[in-house]
Each structure stands twice: as C-alpha cells, then as structure tokens.
Symmetry: C2
Amino acid sequence: MEREVSIMQIEKSLNGVNVDRLIDTFTTVKEKPDVAKFKFKATNHWVNGGHNRTLIKDFYGACQTQTHKKPFNLEEDEPPVLLGEDKGANPVEYVLSALAGCLTTTLVYQAAVRGIKIDEIESTYEGDLDLRGFLGVSQEVRNGYNGIKVTFKIKADASEETLRELVELAQKRSPVFDIITNPVPVTVELESKQFLH
Amino acid sequence: MEREVSIMQIEKSLNGVNVDRLIDTFTTVKEKPDVAKFKFKATNHWVNGGHNRTLIKDFYGACQTQTHKKPFNLEEDEPPVLLGEDKGANPVEYVLSALAGCLTTTLVYQAAVRGIKIDEIESTYEGDLDLRGFLGVSQEVRNGYNGIKVTFKIKADASEETLRELVELAQKRSPVFDIITNPVPVTVELESKQFLH
C-alpha cells in the first residue's frame, strides 16, 4: 500500500511541479474564465537617493485575495557610478531577474506537462542601455533597453530538438517575455500632495 | 572651517542625490556618448518547480566593468495557488518592483536637479493578468499584464502642480517605464544540450 502511494506521487509530480494540479488548473480556467483573473500588487517606499523598497504581500487570484506565506521586501538601489550606495540591485537589473524567473518557470512547467525531466537550467541575460535616454541628453536614444540577449544551458533527459521546442514554448507563453517584448499600458496618478499617516 | 565644509555638502546633495555629480554625468555623456553605454547582466539558476534564483554581481558602464559592492541573490518562486512554495515574489511581481524602483528613483533624481526637496514617497502598483494566456487556454488573451495602475503619494516642499510635473517627468525619463510601455527586442538562444560544470 505504501509503495502504491509512492508511485502515484512520482507520477503526479515532475520537476517539482504537481502536474495533476497544473492540468486541473487548465481545465478549471477553461470552464470558469473568472478563476484566471489575477491582480498582482506592490507598494514601494522611497528610502533615500536611489534607494527604495518594494513590499509584496498579497494579490487577488482564483476568485479571492491570496496572502503570501511571508511578505517580501525587495531592496533596490543604484551602484556608485549611478550615484547610489549599492544597497540592492537596480530597477533595470530587476527587469532581467523578472525575465529570467519567468522564462525558466514557464519552461519547467511546460516540460513537466510534457513528461520531460529537467536536471539543471542556467540562463544568462545581457541588456544594453544607453544612459543618455535617462539623462535626457539625446532625444534619439530610448530610455530603456535597446535589446536583451538571453542564453539558456539545459541539462535534461531530452534531445536537443526537444529542448529547442521548450525554449520556444517558454517565449510563447511567458508573461514577462510578453510584458517586455510588447507594449503594456501603464497609468500613473498623483493621489494628493498630502501624505497620509 | 568645519562649518564651511558642512554647508558645501548640503548644497551639493539633495534627496540623497549628489547633484553636482549628476550634472557632471550629464555634461560628460553629452561630450563622450560612449560613457553612457551600459550593459546590465544577470545569471539565473533553476532550483525546483517555480523556484529559481538570479545572481546580479557586475555590469559594464562608464567604459569599464563595474562590480557591485556585494552580489545580489534574488529569489523567485510562485505562490501555492500557482503551484509553487512561495519562497520568493514571483516574476510578474518583480516587474512591479522594477517599475516602482525606477519611477521613484527617476522622480527623486529629477527633483534633486530642480532643487525640490522630497520628504516621503509611497507608490502602489496593480497589474491585471489573465492566467489563460500563460496556460495557453485562449489565443485571445495576452500572457502578460493587460495594464498596470500606479498611484503616487508624495510629501515634498513643492506645489501640487510641481509634483504633477515631477510625476510626468518620471514617466518620460524612466528606463523601466519605457521597457514596459514599449517593445524591447529579446533574443533567446539555447547554447548546448550539455551543461558545463
């Protein structure tokens, strides 16, 4: 009996992903699209100079407010060459991290659904940015990345052809890949001069 | 003599930003555009399931490799409702943090150059995401955020009109605001099946 339970657990989970639950989620949102509506949230407080802190503690999803097991405080700062004190990675480095996490997770989940066991993934990110945009020195230069180059190394129980398909699928399905490669509308409002305490 | 040094320091720095160095940077990159060319870097390692870790340790800028005072390890995971173990904020939450840090820093630097003293800044971020994109359930739904709503509260020695101008300037100059609201080309390559150790 114990052996049977053990085998079932192995069948259900691959790459640390509960495949049955992933397929259940797929089926559920197909029938009830409202379950798929998520709203992610963050609150940022400026500390000093280029140093600020983002608090992530809850979000809305699967028709209810969801609270993280613990709140996450993400420190951001600029390095000395950009006039900061280097108390955290800077915002454009956070963008690379977001892209890295999302491509990797999407690839791992897609592999799990397809029954492909992954052993290791390492990926590197390089983003070219011309500071003349941020400084307003040139109108012909954009403020953000001109381009980002990503390289994946994957050790897995699969052919190179299959791994290439997984890397393609990761790009096709990754939320952050979409956010960076396509425009997202952002509205910014000033609530009031007075700070409410 | 001590008093004189103290007064000079107050004049040079505002909001924790060394204004003289910021103006120097502006002048330098106007004359030598190569100084403005930055390349930010990240390396990500998959841990398990939705859990992965991004290492940020150096970048290229101001014509040389720059090493952070210490390396930053950014943990990412998915919450249980998205089949993870909640060991870090998730990638789309990292996007909100990147946007928050960048808008805030851009606003603070712009205020410093204009001689506007900032006391406090709090900003909130809400991003709407339909999971049907990631799951591939619907082709009519995008994978990333449909939109992001940002609200700023600022306490500063300035009129509401001036603060509104600062919020506009932050959007106009922020690298991450540009990255999210406009397309960035991203190339993804698979280096080799074999993982090099």
